[in-house]
Symmetry: C2
Subunit: 442 residues, 2 copies
């Protein structure tokens, strides 16, 4: 019996692409023996073929035309590792239209064009695999789609951005301000030159969107989420949080109420009880807590990015691609590949802010004079936001005080209104800082 050769094209040989090339080259004999096929790293696309790379790639295999790889009829598996949402989209759609399997690590692409990508895959019998797009080497996509297939997911939350977690961990450990830690993180390669996608929460939002689709079958755009970053957190916030028994993590939260059929997806810095396992997940590590209605809570922790961890995930998708491709084309059945584990019920609506409940931490920088607290308390009372605790301390700014309020259970609408009104109070000197207090079960 002749052994089939499957040809792989890598569009993009940057951080991730080179990792895939390196590890796949090392693993190839092993994987071939195990899978019963030959695997050929057939072609690679880059912007600059002259660039020095950490892996040896024959010049004859390199092209600057990534779309040529997507269209090449001899290529079975296309890895889209160029990043961005324009060329990446074209590569993906061109390959799927030809019934190929596309493997991608690109959460921004999936968040922006996931609906179109999956529709194209369905129409043309292509397959789109994306384990590496969320939480690097942690096989969370496979866990949700296959391992936990018997479950519905009322709550998924976690640390999805390693850069932010690194910065927050360093701020807390070194008692250092955000800008200083960010600068160090850039020098050490833990943050990109343009950090905004990470620190403003957009990268985590893209990943939350991917998980929300997988779990609930709807595409939630970042504009429909609450997305808040970490740039306004100060060392004082860590001290206040610690005094209250909490740590601070940037969490993505995907919450579904199956009674009302409402869904909320949000990304925000969150006070987590210090004893919570997720509060112990430090540095560049990611963590995802999944509440399943049958299995209960399972938690997954690991490196969320980096060349090797991401390559590990891409290679696992390539192995799954081999299993899909070994069957005859006509035989690929819908159920071969579960696009979303959402039940075939009415898709959820986005929950309005007044239905998103929780407790809050609010830090205000105010004039240090009598009567200020009572003016603030009058505002919160009018919004039915009930105060649980107050910590007052000198602010960095001369003549100012820092007021930290925690609230009893309230909701996003009430807090939004509260902040809008607090902003207009004369003694409130700076934009209020609002953090959420987690009320998740362990």
């Amino acid at each position: 019996m002749s052994v089939r050769t499957l040809r792989i094209g890598l569009c993009g040989l940057g951080t991730v692409g080179q990792g895939v090339w390196k590890h796949l080259t090392a693993d190839r004999p092993e994987l071939e023996a195990r899978l019963g096929v030959k695997l050929e790293l057939a072609r690679g696309a880059v912007r600059n073929p002259k660039k020095r790379r950490s892996v040896r790639i024959p010049a004859s295999k390199l092209t600057t035309d990534a779309l040529a790889i997507a269209r090449d009829p001899s290529i079975d598996i296309v890895c889209e590792l160029v990043g961005g949402t324009d060329l990446a989209r074209e590569i993906t759609l061109e390959a799927l239209r030809r019934g190929k399997v596309v493997v991608s690590a690109n959460k921004a692409l999936i968040c922006a064009h996931g609906a179109e990508i999956f529709a194209t895959a369905r129409e043309h019998g292509g397959r789109f695999l994306f384990e590496a797009s969320v939480a690097g080497g942690i096989p969370i996509i496979k866990a949700l789609r296959e391992g936990l297939v018997a479950n519905r997911f009322p709550l998924i939350y976690g640390i999805l951005n390693g850069t932010c977690n690194y910065i927050l961990t360093q701020m807390e450990e070194r008692d250092a301000p955000y800008t200083q830690v960010l600068g160090d993180a850039k020098r050490l390669g833990y943050a990109e030159a343009d950090e905004s996608l990470d620190v403003e929460g957009w990268d985590a939002a893209h990943k939350a969107s991917v998980l929300a689709y997988l779990a609930h079958g709807v595409w939630v755009r970042p504009e429909q989420m609450i997305v808040e970053g970490i740039a306004r957190i100060t060392p004082a916030d860590f001290k206040n949080a610690n005094a209250l028994g909490f740590g601070i993590k940037l969490l993505a939260v995907i919450w579904r109420d199956f009674e009302t059929n409402e869904l909320s997806v949000r990304v925000h810095p969150t006070l987590l009880p210090e004893s919570h396992v997720v509060a112990k997940v430090n540095g560049v590590f990611n963590a995802i807590s999944v509440q399943g209605d049958v299995v209960g809570t399972t938690l997954y922790i690991g490196r969320g990015a980096g060349q090797d961890a991401t390559a590990s995930a891409v290679i696992s998708d390539i192995v799954d691609a081999v299993a899909l491709l070994r069957r005859q084309k006509g035989e690929m059945i819908d159920g071969d590949f579960i696009e979303t584990t959402a039940r075939r019920q009415a898709p959820p609506r986005i929950a309005p802010p007044e239905h998103i409940e929780g407790r809050y931490y609010l830090r205000l920088t105010v004039e240090d004079k009598p009567g200020v607290l009572s003016a603030i308390a009058a505002v919160t009372a009018r919004q039915h936001v009930s105060i649980a605790s107050v910590i007052q301390s000198p602010a960095e700014r001369a003549g100012a005080a820092s007021l930290v309020l925690t609230t009893h259970r309230s909701n996003e609408r009430a807090l939004r209104n509260t902040i809008a009104r607090l902003r207009r109070l004369r003694p409130v000197l700076e934009e209020p800082v609002l953090l959420r207090i987690a009320e998740f079960p362990e």
Copy 2:
């Protein structure tokens, strides 16, 4: 196109079997729509058909002849949920010989007869799936076999027995002795009437054997492992451990040295640094830390047992079984199903005790009189075991003292010899208690 019906037989309708029946009945329409097949819960085998069960099962579907289900040509998927290793083995082999897919939660069976089971599956084109056998609802088998397929595994360790973890957690929290906590655990249903399989470490050893096969391709029998239980741990051990900055967990450890090609599998109570995430995993929860050579460390936490969590895992295997069965028989290729992720290199040898290194905690109950410590120190020095710290305190027993030694790095052989000699010292009044100190990376 006519939709194929796949018929499922459940051998055993106890805790797990009834959970599978319940959730599969609830999920069936959903799974059928998603998978493109009909699923029929066709038959169930029990010892006593008159027993009241929590699910309604038509009498016509029940039999007391579990082997008849395994042999029934109309049954495609056989779930072996009877437990034990005799009937369970027969059911499994009979079904595999007929090319069926067998789904099992039975780690004792796999540990005892795994080699025969997988050989039978290979010979006859059957498939054996066992996600539920380790760590309940955590999809750890799928993670190792598929999600982390690009990795080799120098170290896998974790909390694999929920009963022991519950007992240890309660002992620490309530400062209560082992026998009292065990009694309470039995009353609350967290421990079996015969607790020995759990508390002596055998259940965790069975699970470690399953993971070791998956990762390294060799069957390690419990007799080839170091297996120590939790029965001799006292509240004083928790106090001593805490004073040294540790918690105590029953860990299974699967360690492979790829240089020397040696493997060690062991189960023993272990001092873990309090700050270690696994040290925070309390109650009936399981945790598995997997070190992959490409991905780094990933960690998985969740409920390790119980009707629902285990059913979640069995159902995910049934869904995988559907994917395997939908292909024509002749088409099932070896690579469809990866039995072990071990590389095709020489299988590892079992590491001799002198190659298993680490630090140790040794508690001795000794006569409270001068010269005892120096006699003990002479013994350890002769075995080249170097003492790192000593805590002396009054023992419960009158006229006795408790001596807690921690060692610098040593090995199992040296400690075994040390203990054999200490036992013979007249002032040593009781069997020494030896705990390992974890030296794992986070």
